[in-house]
Structures are given as C-alpha cells and as structure tokens.
Amino acid sequence: MAQSQSSEAKTGYMLVAPPLLYAVLLLAAPLATVLIYSVLTGENGAVSLPMTTENFTTVWTGRVYQAIMARSLYVSMLVTLTTVLLAYPIAYFVSFHVRPERKALWLFLITIPFWTSYIIRVALWRTILGYNGIIDSTLIGLGVTSEPLNILSYGVVSIIITLAHAYAPFAVLPIFVSLEKVDRALLEAGQDLGESRWTTFLRVTLPLSMPGVIAAVLIVFIPTVGDYVTPELIGGGKVPMIANMIEIEMLKKRDQAMGSAIAVTAMSIVAIVSILFVLLNKRFIGGTK
C-alpha cells in the first residue's frame, strides 16, 4: 500500500515536472528578478549594489506615486463593481430563465466578445466613444444633443466601459456556476416561509451565490489593477494607472529598480485585497456543503 502510494507519488511528480519547470522559468524566475531589482539601485537601464529600501520609501511617500496607486485601485474597483453588477443579472437570467437545453448556447454567445483580440476591441471602443464617434453621431443625429459628448475625454468613464465589457464574460461564468448550484427547492422554501420572490432572492439566492460573486470580483479586480493597454489607448495616457507608471519608470526613465519597487508594491496591494476577499469567501463556503 505504502509502496504503491510512493510509486504513485513518483509518477505524479514526473507528470507535473514539465509544467513545473515551465512555471519556475516563466513565473518564479521573473518574479524573483523583480523582487531583487526592487531593493537595488537603478540607473541608466542597469541595477547595481548596494541594497537599499530607498525605492520603496520613494514609492510609498511620493505624492505622484500615491495618487496613481490610489487611482489604479479606485478605477479597478469601479470596473470590478460595474462588471459584477452587470454580470450578475446576465448570469441570473441564464441560470433561472433559460431552458436547460439552451443554457450552453447562451454561455457560448456570451463569449463572443473574445472572438476578436483585446487590442482590437479597445480600438473599437475608441471609435464608438470618441469625439464624433458612433455614440456622438447617433445622439446628434437623433437630436438628443447638439454638441459631441466625446465620452472618451472623460478618461475614467471610458476606461470603465471598455474594461467592464472586456471582463464581463469572466464575471458571468463563476456567478452562473454558483447560481446553478442553488437548489431550486430552497427558493420555494423561502416563499413557503413567507418571503416574496425579491426577499427570497436577498435571503437565499444572493448569499448562496456569493462564492461565485467573490470569484468574479477577484477575476476582474486582479488583472484590471495592472491593466496597461486600456488606460494607454482609451485614457489617452491622461489617466495613467500603475502599469503605465511602471512603463515610465522602466522604459522612459530607465530606472528598473524603481519600476520593480512599484511592481512589488502593486502586487502586495492586490495580494492583500485578494486575501481579504478569499477570507470573506471562506465565510460563505464554510456555510455550504
């Protein structure tokens, strides 16, 4: 028994070895590099000793850095909120109101935005939201407004629209899965015990779907904090976020140590927020089977 277990373990290690190697080379090694760079002194595109914490002091106390970090968090939280609020009703509709044999088709349709590349979608949003873009010309054509709105110029709003659209399917799927797991008899039980459809939703369906909601929050929040393309192309560089700042430090100022320190700081913030959410999730999962 013990022998077969250890030989089974060996086979297991053999099986995971190639992807493990891949993960070490492509994830752990760069991560370690960034960590090491962040405590070195950087100049002219190179790093050198001595070790120092000065980079972090600058990042954590510098006004500009703080402001951009705060804005990154603020924008990605807004994006997350918008995305999850939009995704929930879609997931709910597909789970509760679409006939079982049609659900797969609906989920398939929801993934259609992925059929074009992210960059192309961002570019399309520029055309839609921009000065005299599709929205402007439509509204002017309908006589709703006479001046172009140029939504693109409200940096944050257009970033939110673009990112929410990009991440919606990622948010729909985990919420859908958690809603599918809600025993429909529980909803009848809720109504049987005197609650309306709406209050049953609040007291039964919503709490039981929280694991999916929290998964959706993490899936959207983590990548959007570090998103580079959208703020660059949609925000017109006027609303830089962390990733843009890292780019400036690393490539424009050629200070890789500072860039690394910002990256490490950003990762820490994301990690802390994520851990908080995972802990929150535990509360809900703890109650379910």
Partner: protein, 366 residues
C-alpha cells in the same frame, strides 16, 4: 364513524384540473379535508400527488376548478401568504444558515422581540427533539435531523395546514417507522391539519385519519383506513392497498341494494350495499383478503362458512404462513398468523383442507 366526520372543513377541492402543456396531471379533483385531520394522498409514482400538494401550497397554479382553504378561495393567492407550510421531500434546509436560523427563517416579520423569537425557536427545537442543536451548521445534520429541522421550521409559523411530500422516503426503515410514530404524536400535540404524500400504503394506513387514493390524476377513493382496507370501491384500490384474492362471480339477483351472487368455489352469497360499490361495467369478481380466510385443522369447527380445498403451495415466513389453496375452479391465498396457534404444524402441499370464510369479508367488483 371516525372522528373526522364532525370536524369543520379546512380544504375543499371543486373539480380541480391541472394541465402541464398537453399532459392532464389532475383530472377533476373533488373532496374535502377536515380541520385537524391527518390526511394522506396515496398513490403510485406519477399519479399527481405532488402536483396536488403543490397546488395547495400555491407553487403550482390550477387550470380550472376551485381550491378553498379555510373558506377562502385560493385563486391568485401567492404561496408566501397562504396559511400553509411545507416539509419538502429534499427538506430544503438552507445550507448557509445554522439550525436555529433555519427554524427562525419565517419569523422575520414577526413583531416579537429578538429574545422572544429565540425562545420560540428553542421551544420548537425541543418539540422536535433537537434541543441544543441550534448552533449546528445545516450540513452537520443527519437525514433524520434535517427532517426535524424542516418540521420545526414549518410548524413555528403555526400554519393551518402542514404539507409533507414523502417526508419519510429518504430515511432507512427503522428511522422511518420511528418517525411515523413521532409525526403522529406531533400532529396530535399541535392539532394542525397534516397532509402527507406517500406511495407507501402501509405508511398511509398507519398514520392517517383519512386517505385519498389517487390514480392517474384522479381520486379513486377517499375514506378512512379501515373502510379503504375492508371496503375498497374498485379492484384497482383493492390491489394497491394490501393483497386481495379475486374470485370470479355471477350475479343471480339484485333486490333493494342486496345482491345475490354465485362465487366460484364458494357458492351462493348475499351481499349488502356496503359490499357492492357502484358498478363500473367490468366482469364481476368478489374480493376477499387473505387474512380473512382460515384453514380448519382436524377437530376444529367454525361458525363461518366453509369449503373444501387442496393446498397448492406453502410459503413460510416465521410469524405467518401463506398458503395457496385450490377451491374447485379458483385459487385463493390464505394467510395464517402463527401467533395465536402455537405448535400447529405447517401443512404440506397436496393436503386436503377445509377453508373457513365469512360472507361479510367479501366485496363485489363489477
């Protein structure tokens, strides 16, 4: 005859029909359920018991007809304001809540203070035998405990009618028998009308004041257990509830409710009106339960009628022995309890015996 007769009506069905698309699930349900009654809906799987129960709860609308609960027409009354509560087949315990939160779920709009509600929950838990389980998570409970939580959660709202959909079918045999007794006691204690759905005829007979036997979306017979057992109104009901011998018969005469027949192997018998339910245009047969028959052992006499027979088959069960006896033209099953006749030998196949039977035990189906 039974205690139900003088009770006020709690639920009344008037020609209730229910269609699922083209499928006619309820086909003209009529009948009443009395206040404080332990009532069962009994029938084979798929006959519409759950559907009928769900129309009472308000989870399912009806296509035509009227359902009255406590003199109120339930048309358009949603489930959450009906004076009914349900114990679901799956129990439907809220997995994200503790036992106490589950039991107190329906008390949200109750004007009582938090402390009073907590006391009510405790009292309810004590009633179903779950004192001290309030803080347990729902998933830590066994099947029987989940069922008790479901019961407590429904009863705490003091409904006029408690609906139970096959509540015992998920339990093992021992637990099931135990819960049958508990449920009967609980019902007597709270005095609420219980409507139990079951496909288990024994369970229905043991627990109910009255039973509606359902086949294919209709009520075949609505009666107390004894009437149902002794005087089934059709072959179908007779076969569904227990075992019955059917003996071909010819009708000789019919005068003022009394029917004289000639039953194969048994001879001429006169039956009164309770023994001859309304005709349905079938070949006439008389039914008699195997345990109403007895075998006469040498030296034994009887005040009942007797007929000669030959033992065809013997099945020994320990406390019971089943005999197949050939009675000139027909075979009947005879069930003898060994309890009252210690030391009596098991008879062999081929033994000639006398079978004693009583004309009162017969029911005519035609």
């Amino acid at each position: 005859m039974t205690f139900s007769e003088d009770k006020p009506v709690m639920i009344e069905f008037r020609d209730v029909h229910k269609y699922y698309g083209d499928y006619h699930a309820l086909r003209g349900i009529d009948g009443t359920i009395k206040a404080g009654e332990f009532f069962s809906l009994l029938g084979p799987s798929g006959c519409g018991k759950t559907t009928l129960l769900r129309t009472i709860a308000g989870f399912e609308g009806i296509s035509s007809g009227v359902i009255m609960i406590d003199d109120r027409n339930m048309a358009g009354v949603p489930a959450n304001v009906r004076p009914t509560n349900m114990v679901f087949q799956s129990y439907a315990i809220f997995p994200h809540m503790s036992v106490a939160e589950n039991v107190g779920f329906g008390l949200r709009r109750d004007p009582r203070t938090k402390a009073e509600k907590a006391a009510a929950v405790e009292e309810m838990l004590a009633m179903v035998g779950l004192t001290g389980y309030g803080d347990r998570a729902a998933h830590e409970l066994s099947g029987g405990q989940r069922q008790r939580v479901a019961l407590a959660r429904a009863l705490i709202l003091k409904p006029k009618v408690l609906l139970l959909d096959e509540p015992l079918s998920a339990l093992d045999k021992k637990m099931r028998e135990h819960m049958q007794v508990e449920l009967i006691k609980l019902q007597r204690q709270v005095g609420i009308t219980f409507i139990l759905v079951t496909h288990d005829q024994e369970e229905a007979l043991v627990m109910s004041d009255r039973i509606a036997v359902m086949f294919e979306g209709g009520i075949a017979q609505l009666a107390d257990p004894e009437t149902l057992y002794r005087r089934p109104n059709s072959k179908q009901v007779a076969e569904f509830i227990g075992t019955m011998n059917f003996v071909p018969a010819t009708i000789l005469s019919e005068v003022g409710g009394k029917v004289e027949i000639e039953a194969k192997g048994l001879g001429k018998v006169t039956l009164d009106e309770t023994q001859s339910p309304p005709p349905r245009g079938e070949e006439p047969v008389v039914g008699l339960r195997p345990e109403t028959l007895t075998l006469l052992f040498p030296g034994q006499t009887t005040s009942e009628r007797k007929v000669d027979g030959l033992i065809d088959e013997v099945i020994y069960f320990g406390d019971m022995t089943y005999y197949d006896v050939y009675l000139g033209g027909t075979d009947v099953e005879v069930r003898l309890s060994m309890r009252n006749v210690p030391g009596r030998p098991i008879l062999d196949v081929g033994t000639r015996v006398e079978v004693a039977w009583s004309p009162e035990a017969l029911v005519l189906f035609r």
